[in-house]
């Protein structure tokens, strides 16, 4: 049986062969002892042949015809698009100027996504035909239109909730990532730019060539270590400050709670690029208000913009200013939720305020905010905006291509976009993201967020 259908795989439309196996296979494993498998088999087969046919066979007219129409409409509407897209993603075009490789690549990826969606729907159609067929085999009536509707809105409710977001997510988040990944395997740069030239697939050669470039060698260590320091310090401090302020406001006996909370969350309400640019002006070495003020109180001028160390300090301060309000809001919410019984019990045992914070507040807050906190670390690791808008990664440091405050991502962008090596930009992004994902995943597993998940249902 399997070899037969297996050979069908290579001959005709692959999906059909595949699903024949599926259907038979399911039969074998699921209900081997039941003899009458007449309807389910036939319905599934018909549905494999043409979408909706199995449903029509099952006398679910409405469902069947709408499936049928959906398939026809999909094929008619998108045939050209899919055709060009698939051809494009394989060849990346054949004639310069007429074919725009980059656009073809993008179209190709969208085509693949559409096909996968289509196939997913197709699979559902087959499964549905099979299931209804099975009901008939058991002598039950196929569900009526109303029953089907009920099924969808009841059993299918979570899917209804998730689907719109998921579709949007696929095109708006996943597709750009796939596109970036794809670029990492092409030779897309200044000298291979459409429309003048075609772009080609080059396999892994970017990953090899990239490391051979002399540019990276002189600054990698210093940039990497600053990136780590930046990520850890900025994120930890912005979170710690938010938490401390939340605890302070939350204390019994503190008045004007609402006022403090409102004002301290305010930085959040200013678009961050505005704040960063304003800070960039305020920290100006010669004439910025920060230095003017420091001079007035007798500290003297600090080279905020021209000394790497001080620029780093300024950047950390700016990022903390930008980031603490969110942590404050988050922690304030969590604190409200902590039962006061816990604290009362601790007070009975004579715990000091610090002990209460250390033993009760901190663990509970960390527990509740761990996923968000990890995301924030990752966010700062890639925090291009603040580094770039504040001082473009400057000040320059003798003997290295990276500026004194460049983190990995700003440095990579600078080098690759200045030299128009889009392929390298994509390749480095790919490597960096993979590492970041692995680290985050590891951290994530360590936190208990996922164990708690299993408590649900």
């Amino acid at each position: 049986m399997r070899t037969q259908t297996g050979s069908a795989l290579s001959v005709s439309f692959i999906g059909e062969g595949g699903f024949t196996i599926v259907a038979t296979d399911a039969k074998l494993t699921m209900q081997p002892e039941r003899p009458s498998s007449f309807h389910r088999r036939r319905a599934a087969l018909l549905s494999i042949l043409v979408m909706g046919l199995g449903q029509i066979y099952n006398r679910q007219w409405w469902k069947g015809f709408s499936f049928l129409i959906a398939e026809i409409a999909f094929l008619i509407a998108s045939f050209d698009f899919l055709n060009i897209g698939l051809w494009g993603i394989v060849t990346l075009g054949t004639e310069p100027f007429l074919d725009h490789s980059v656009l073809l690549l993008a179209q190709g990826i969208i085509a693949v996504i559409l096909i996968i969606f289509g196939l997913g729907f197709y699979a559902l159609n087959i499964r549905d035909a099979y299931r209804v067929g099975r009901m008939r085999d058991r002598g039950e009536n196929p569900p009526t239109l109303r029953e089907t509707y009920r099924m969808i809105t009841d059993k299918g409710y979570p899917y209804l909730l998730v689907t719109p977001g998921l579709i949007l997510l696929t095109f708006v988040v996943v597709f750009p990532i796939l596109f970036t990944v794809a670029i990492a395997f092409t030779n897309y740069d200044l000298y291979h730019s459409p429309p003048a030239k075609l772009v080609d697939w080059v396999g892994f050669s970017n990953f090899v060539g990239m490391f051979q470039s002399p540019l990276w060698q002189n600054s990698f260590i210093s940039v990497f270590s600053w990136t780590i320091v930046w990520t850890l310090v900025a994120t930890t401090l912005q979170f710690a400050l938010g938490l401390i302020l939340a605890v302070l406001i939350h204390q019994k006996g503190v008045r004007f709670k609402k006022f403090f909370r409102t004002v301290l969350i305010l930085p959040w309400a200013v678009p961050s690029f505005v704040s960063i640019l304003v800070f960039s002006g305020m920290f100006d070495d010669n004439f910025g208000p920060v230095n003017t003020m420091l001079q007035n109180i007798g500290v003297g001028e600090i080279p905020w913009m021209t000394d790497p160390m001080w620029t780093r300090v300024a950047l950390l301060l700016v990022q903390i200013w930008l980031g603490f309000p969110f942590s404050l809001a988050l922690c304030a919410g969590v604190l409200q939720g902590i039962s006061s019984d816990l604290y009362e019990a601790a007070e009975m045992d004579g715990a000091t305020a610090f002990q209460k914070f250390r033993r009760i507040t901190l663990p509970l807050v960390l527990y509740a905010t761990a996923p968000v906190l990890i995301t924030q670390y990752a966010f700062n690791f890639n925090n291009l905006n603040v580094i770039y808008l504040f001082n473009q990664g400057k000040p320059a440091v003798p003997g290295q291509s990276a500026g004194g405050t460049d983190i990995l991502i700003t440095w990579v962008y600078k080098l690759t976009f200045d030299t128009h090596k889009y392929n390298y930009a994509a390749a480095v992004t790919l490597i960096m993201s993979l590492v970041l994902m692995l680290v985050s995943l590891y951290q994530f597993r360590k936190t208990r967020a996922f164990q708690e998940e299993d408590l649900i249902q």
Binding site: G85, L86, F97, S193, Q212, P214, P398
Partner: protein
């Protein structure tokens, strides 16, 4: 259950793989589509991207109406930031949303040509003769003409007449003047400019024999960089001495130069024509003069030429070229000069009283005439930052000019190598 899922996903992957191979591509008629083919039809409309600047737009919209009156072709003017046009054309062009005519500073021509974004234009020699030679030179890449020049831009010496009666004859005098009139404690300066920006410093390196790329038969050789030859080093040494003598504060920004000048605390600045209006609004009596002789020669500053180019996606090359000539004609550029104050690229206008007798403009025009176009090959993109950094290191006394420039050129060479990798 597990198996059925596995089979399902396997076969799905199979379908995707097969359909990837099955895509059979566009049906093409074969044969070249008639891209040439004699005189093209007169289009109904031409589209031009003009810089996002109120005055630029005002002028171009007015000219668009006149062109329509003259030829019956409607011109649509869309505002797109002059530095964003190239990036936008790479996306809008292939999707048929691009314009016929674009504009950007000439130093980005090389990149555009390599990417195939603009097409060469064909005009008679008598047309090109109308423009200042250096501006036509700026419009050429690899020996071919890619656009028509509209305006030139150069920095010059701007001085506060209340603090400086007469511009000095030589740069040495200017420095002496600065030494006498600078007192950083009181925020008083004799001469200020954005010294850590290579654009403003090029003329100093050039005066002693430095150059960016060697020019051979009208082509620039990116393999021959003259920014760490002895001349360039002497030039940078001189710049360094200005910082050492505290004439220029390190880390100086454009905004600060302007702010101080407007407060009347600076006698002279080196800046471009874009700054003048702001200075006058602040109530400063501004004079403009070419930069005084340095090392016995007229300083050759970098000049920028704003040109008009025809998109490679334009189907109306003939009429677009016609429109280009109209926009760079005498009447049009005269109107533009009146509206925007930009120095025209045409010889006849440069000699006309309206330009020549305007004391503010004449200074810039004189400087522009002796300037040299910024290199327009894409390798230039790798030069700016490393050299600017080298100047910064010298300004802060972190490195000697020799070391700084050798390092910078090495980095430039590495970056160019990576670019071509």
């Amino acid at each position: 259950m597990l198996k059925w899922k596995k089979w399902m996903s396997l076969s799905m992957a199979g379908v995707v793989a097969v359909s990837l191979l099955a895509g059979c591509g566009p049906q093409r008629d074969g044969g070249t589509t008639a891209k040439e083919g004699g005189k093209e039809e007169k289009p109904k409309q031409l589209v031009i991207w003009e810089n996002k600047d109120a005055n630029h737009l005002k002028h171009t919209r007015k000219m668009a109406k006149e062109y329509e009156k003259k030829t019956g072709i409607q011109v649509k003017v869309i505002d797109v930031d002059i530095l964003k046009q190239q990036e936008k054309l790479t996306l809008d062009g292939p999707n048929g949303k691009g314009p016929d005519v674009v504009t950007w500073p000439h130093d980005r021509i090389g990149e555009a040509v390599i990417k195939g974004l603009i097409q060469p234009i064909e005009v008679e020699e008598e047309v090109t003769d109308q423009y200042n030679e250096s501006t036509i030179q700026a419009m050429q890449y690899d020996g071919q003409l890619y656009g028509l020049p509209r305006n030139t831009e150069s920095i010059a010496l701007l001085y506060n007449k209340a603090l400086m009666k007469q511009p000095p004859k030589t740069f040495e005098e200017l420095i002496d003047f600065a030494k006498k009139n600078t007192d950083p404690a009181k925020k008083k300066y004799g001469l200020l400019f954005e010294g850590e920006n290579f654009y403003y410093d090029y003329f100093v390196l050039d005066a002693f024999g430095g150059y960016v790329f060697k020019e051979l038969d009208g082509k620039l050789d990116p393999a021959d960089i003259g920014l760490n030859n002895s001349g360039a080093k002497r030039g940078l040494q001189m710049i360094g001495s200005w910082y050492e003598d505290k004439l220029l504060p390190p880390g100086l920004k454009d905004d600060t130069v302007n702010g101080l000048f407007k407060e009347g605390k600076v006698a002279a600045v080196i800046n471009g024509p874009w700054a003048v209006k702001d200075y006058r609004d602040a109530g400063i009596d501004v004079g403009v003069a070419p930069i005084p002789k340095l090392n016995g020669k007229d300083p050759r500053t970098f000049i920028g030429v704003k040109g008009l180019y025809i998109s490679a996606y334009s189907k109306n090359k003939y009429w677009a070229t016609d429109f280009l000539q109209f926009l760079t004609g005498k009447e049009a550029l005269q109107d533009r000069f009146k509206t925007t104050g930009e120095i025209p690229s045409r010889k006849d206008l440069l000699e006309a009283p309206i330009v020549k007798d305007d004391p503010l403009v004449a200074g810039f025009a004189g400087q522009a005439a002796q300037g040299t176009p910024m290199p327009n090959i894409p390798e230039m993109g790798q030069v700016w930052d490393p050299i600017a950094n080298a100047i910064t290191f010298v300004a802060k006394g972190k490195q000697k000019p020799e070391q700084a420039l050798d390092d910078a050129v090495k980095q430039i060479e590495e970056q160019i190598k990576t670019q071509k990798q």
